[in-house]
């Protein structure tokens, strides 16, 4: 699936919640609960995303030109939010991640239900994921040279 196909799928799922704030929050937390646990060795200070009010650990690996992220958070809602990003970016190429336009955030009204502070944190997670993509892209290019 492409990044946009996954985004469209998420938009459809959130539409079913019909704007109910409580259902939305519960749904996001449920998504977080399903996120595979991060390896203990990756739960380091280095992997903490800067700019999040909650603590978020994020790391990435590359297999066959596709990126694979794993993450965890000390708050359930943030874990759910990062799981959405992981779902979108899993097995996508660094280039696709770098150029991704994450329109799903507006479509599902994310800022409305997570508030400004968490929105800033969410932006920090996206930035960190794009930084990973850039790092892997650079690594690939060096290898090709």
């Amino acid at each position: 699936m492409t990044i946009n196909q996954v985004q469209d799928e998420i938009i459809q799922e959130f539409a079913l919640l019909d704007g109910d704030r409580e259902m939305t929050v519960f749904y996001i937390m449920e998504l977080g609960q399903k996120l595979p646990a991060i390896e203990d060795r990756d739960r380091t200070e280095e992997n903490v995303v800067k700019g999040c009010q909650s603590k978020v650990w994020l790391t990435a690996t590359m297999k066959n030109n596709g990126l694979y992220f794993s993450a965890d958070s000390n708050t359930a809602i943030t874990k759910g939010l990062v799981s959405l990003l992981i779902r979108i970016f899993t097995n996508q190429t660094p280039d696709d991640i770098l150029h991704a336009d994450l329109y799903f955030m507006n479509k599902i009204g994310m800022e409305r239900f997570i508030g400004t502070q968490r929105s800033n944190g969410f932006a920090a997670m996206i930035k960190q994921m794009k930084l990973y993509a850039l790092a892997f892209k650079t690594k690939m290019e060096i290898r090709h040279d």
């Binding site: 409580e22 929050v25 519960f26 708050t75 809602i77 943030t78």
Partner: protein
């Protein structure tokens, strides 16, 4: 305006709620439950009206104008000073200085009194219950004057350890700054005893009254504090204004905090003589509208009767405490015997941010985090709490909604 009520007459919450327009709205599809009163209280309609009346009817700069509007504005502004004097029972109106609020009041004292009278090696005593506003200004002046900060320890229940305090007092002690009531835990501190002990050594005491203004009777003369600070916005009044009370003899010997208009008597390029109290400390055009409206907020409290308000809030606190302790995994943070209406708690296994967000989804406003008291959170080895704080317009039915919301969250997270 509510009618005058006698001592300990029950609060008619439904009637009071009608005075607060903001309470009558839905948030996220449900009736708003506002339990963030320790952060800021809501405003009755006639406080809001006072702001509009000023801007629409008599907006003018105060004190120096000779025209009619300036006269009206000056009278209204000074009427608040008189009300404030009576509200805290200060000996004179000259002891009431308008500031932006408690934070500025503390900064004023730390900067003016602290810089003028602290010497190297002098000691400032704070408590482990303090808001950052009552820590950082002292750290700044202590660093500049090479003074030493000492901290009154806090017990597991969230009370100040008075024996610990006594051990900190020395001949070097110059300033003690503590809150009247803790914003994070609600603990009401034994300020009178703290002040008496400090005065035996000739130290001055500043009381941060941010959490007391709307909840506890305040009599600065009986308390014998040297400085007392209040914020209007936590007392049903507008944001951006507050009071510094200081004993006249102290204020008189303190240098001005800021320079500018209003605080001067005469200015030449060679020399400036300062105005008399309280104007010496009110440089520039003050926050006229908000100061004027602040009077109406204090009147609201006085007319309801602080004892009546305190009794109602205490009732809510007791009920909330009983109900919340029935929930599994809930731990109270701060179980002092004397508390204002602050309920700080944690739920095992659920982060306070998640709880705050989920309660918000049900229209319930609480505060989550460290509440600007990081050293206190460190004392308990926690990152933060969920804090529900109650006001005169809150009801037991609203507490039931909080409990119901928490129950759903706890069940969901199981």
């Amino acid at each position: 305006m509510p009618n005058s009520t006698s001592i300990l007459s029950p609060i008619d919450v439904e009637r009071i709620r009608k005075e607060f327009p903001i309470l009558h709205q839905q948030v996220n599809g449900r009736d708003l439950v506002y339990f963030d009163n320790a952060a800021t209280s809501q405003k009755p309609a006639y406080v809001i009206q006072a702001l509009t009346d000023y801007y629409q009817g008599y907006n003018a700069n105060i004190h120096r104008g000779i025209h009619t509007l300036a006269e009206r504005a000056t009278k209204a502004y000074e009427a608040t000073r008189l009300t404030a004097q009576q509200f805290i029972n200060a000996a004179s109106e000259q002891e009431i200085i308008f500031t932006r609020g408690v934070t500025e009041s503390i900064n004023l004292v730390a900067s003016s009194y602290g810089r003028a009278f602290l010497r190297e090696g002098d000691e400032i005593i704070l408590s482990g219950l303090e808001h950052h506003s009552n820590i950082v200004p002292w750290q700044m002046v202590a660093a500049e004057k090479k003074a030493i900060l000492k901290i009154i320890p806090v017990t597991d229940e969230g009370e100040l350890d008075l024996d610990g305090y006594k051990k900190l007092l020395t001949s070097k002690t110059k300033i003690i700054a503590v809150n009247h009531a803790s914003n994070s835990l609600g603990t009401i501190n034994p300020v009178k005893e703290i002040i008496q002990l400090a005065h035996q050594l000739g130290a001055v005491v500043l009381i941060d009254g941010a959490q007391a203004g709307a909840h506890l009777p305040i009599d600065v003369q009986k308390m014998d504090c040297d400085f007392y600070c209040l914020s209007s916005h936590k007392m049903y009044g507008p944001t951006g204004t507050g009071i510094l009370y200081g004993k006249k003899e102290l204020l008189e010997k303190m240098p001005p905090y800021q320079g500018g208009g209003e605080m001067i008597k005469e200015v030449t390029f060679e020399k400036t003589t300062y105005n008399d109290l309280p104007y010496k400390f009110e440089a520039g055009t003050p926050n006229i509208a908000d100061v004027i409206a602040f009077k109406f907020a204090m009147d609201f409290i006085t007319e309801l009767g602080k004892e009546n308000i305190a009794a109602h809030e205490h009732d809510l606190l007791l009920y909330a405490t009983q109900q919340i302790l029935k929930l599994p995994a809930v731990k109270l943070v701060g179980t002092a015997t004397q508390k204002v209406s602050v309920l700080s708690f944690r739920v095992e296994g659920i982060h306070h941010f998640d709880i705050g967000q989920m309660l918000d989804a049900r229209g319930i406003a609480v505060r989550t985090g460290h509440h600007c008291t990081q050293p206190l959170m460190d004392r308990y080895g926690i990152e933060g709490t969920v804090r529900a704080s109650f006001s005169v317009y809150n009801t037991k039915a609203e507490i039931d909604q909080l409990i119901e919301g928490l129950e759903r969250i706890i069940n969901f997270m199981k």
